[in-house]
């Protein structure tokens, strides 16, 4: 059906397209009205209506790449169809691409499964990029008025309500981590309806390494934004424990009452049971940390006493 184009034009176009000679910035590819910035991806996720304007892809510009397909699917089809191959197929047809372009997503097609790990990973990347901005917005909102329940006309995130009245600068590292983690969990609640399927997809053995990688990067981002600058083994302990808390909370999210009966919980914050669950896990980690510090002090005390006894008995030592 597509035989009337000048092949030379098409050829040069595709060469330009895939040799990195892009006429535009790498982030904004082509004329898709699909998201040009990451933050808009997540913003679109909160509305469930697909935008019709995205279907009108201007064919004169030659850039349709993996990322724009994923971004478009994420902002327009994932809220309705979940992290599935169907969402990708709808995205392809919106962007006027052949369905054989699914071949660019080899892990989506693995063994004919419906779930699309590439879409979940794109979601994680978008969340990671947006996190800093969201935290900054919360800081500004809180600074302008710590008492109000709405900031700039929108209900502040669950995180801000948990802030102590002293504000960000006076918060301890633990409180900051809690605040940032709550923001991050709030991003996942936006796709709460489909999160059980996403977990099922990413828990498959061939996807698990990618999931672990993204979880580790997310934990690193959260500790970084909270202001952790440690360079000893606590670097690893902190990230590992936060990964555990966050991933278990995301599993808890799949059973949240807000998913079943949203109307009942509208009076409080949606997904508040999941947020409370996360706070409980973080409290436990604080307790574990205190326990470890206490044990360390006891051991140090024991060693000092033993050395004192040896010195007193033998007169040997007086080391520094």
């Amino acid at each position: 059906m597509l035989t009337k184009t000048n092949p030379a034009v098409a050829c040069s176009r595709s060469i330009r397209q895939f040799t990195g000679l892009r006429p535009q910035s790498p982030r904004v590819r082509g004329s898709l009205s699909a998201p040009s910035a990451r933050s808009s991806v997540l913003r679109c996720l909160s509305s469930t209506r697909p935008s019709p304007s995205a279907a009108a892809a201007d064919p004169s510009t030659p850039a349709t790449t993996v990322h724009s397909i994923l971004d478009h699917a994420l902002s327009h089809h994932v809220p309705r169809l979940g992290f599935t191959r169907s969402a990708l197929v709808s995205s392809l047809s919106d962007l006027d691409l052949s369905s054989s372009a699914l071949g660019m997503f080899p892990r989506t097609n693995y063994a004919g499964r419906e779930g699309s790990p590439e879409l979940v990973e794109e979601f994680w990347k978008a969340c990671k990029q947006d996190l800093a901005g969201e935290v900054e917005a919360d800081k500004k909102g809180f600074a302008s008025n710590p008492k109000v329940q709405t900031v700039n006309g929108r209900v502040p995130s669950y995180s801000v309500r948990q802030w102590p009245s002293t504000g960000w600068d006076a918060m301890s590292l633990g409180e900051r981590v809690r605040a940032v983690t709550l923001v991050r969990l709030g991003m996942t609640t936006k796709v709460g309806q489909h999160w059980a399927d996403a977990i099922a997809t990413m828990a498959l053995p061939h996807n698990l390494p990618y999931a672990v990688q993204h979880l580790a990067e997310t934990a690193d981002e959260i500790w970084w934004l909270a202001g952790c600058r440690s360079t000893d083994l606590s670097w690893y302990l902190r990230r590992a424990s936060l990964s555990l808390a966050l991933s278990s909370s995301e599993i808890h999210l799949t059973q949240d009452p807000s998913l079943v009966a949203p109307s009942e919980t509208l009076s409080s914050v949606p997904f508040s049971t999941t947020f409370d669950f996360l706070c409980g896990r973080l409290d436990e980690l604080e307790w574990l940390k205190d326990l470890g510090e206490e044990a360390g002090k006891r051991i140090e005390f024991g060693v000092r006493s033993a050395r004192g006894v040896v010195e007193a008995q033998t007169g040997w030592g007086r080391w520094v």
Partner: protein, 229 residues
Amino acid sequence: MISSSIAPRRAVHRAAANATCTSRPRLLAPVCVSPASTSRFSSVAGVTESDEARSRKDAIDALLRVDHAGEIGANVIYKGQIAVLGRDKAVRPMLQHMLDQEVVHLAEFDSLLAEHRTRPSLLRPLWEATGFTLGAVTAAMGKEAAMACTEAVETVIGEHYNDQIRDLLERGDPKDAQLIATLKRFRDEELEHKDIAVENDSQQAPFYTALSTVIQQGCRAAIWVAKRV
């Protein structure tokens, strides 16, 4: 519409053929992924720039991690020596002077690690235990053996800093200028420690050749490991 959509479709077919080699996630082994293995896919996904940035960051990360681990080692070696020779009024100020400089180095790498978001070496407790033992044991063998240990360690560290400075200069990235200046300053101070050790009869130590060889090879092995773990 018919004529217009052919280009994206053809391109997509080619992209699909190329896309079968996706890059594996890298968890704890950034140095294992060669940039070449991701370059084919990158032309499809349009992430060539970020791939380059990645491999640059991996190189800087390995550099900072091994240097940080090295400064931890140097700190605890001097601490171990001071623990044994601390009462010797002639040696103590010398060791304290070198330790003070190493403390400054470590603090500098602490802040560099945080700034570059580099993970520290996972084997930090091992470096601390081994370093302290090395310092204490050589100091127990006498002042000359302690100085021979310092000479061996600082020789390897000096070479190591020189290798890093050469690599950074070869790459010629203007962003590295400050890092190079820092490394040069540290290298000069490490070599000053080596000179102090030689002036203080390090070569009169018992089993000088064997001791020096064993410690140097041990340091090289530790550098190899700390780059990776």
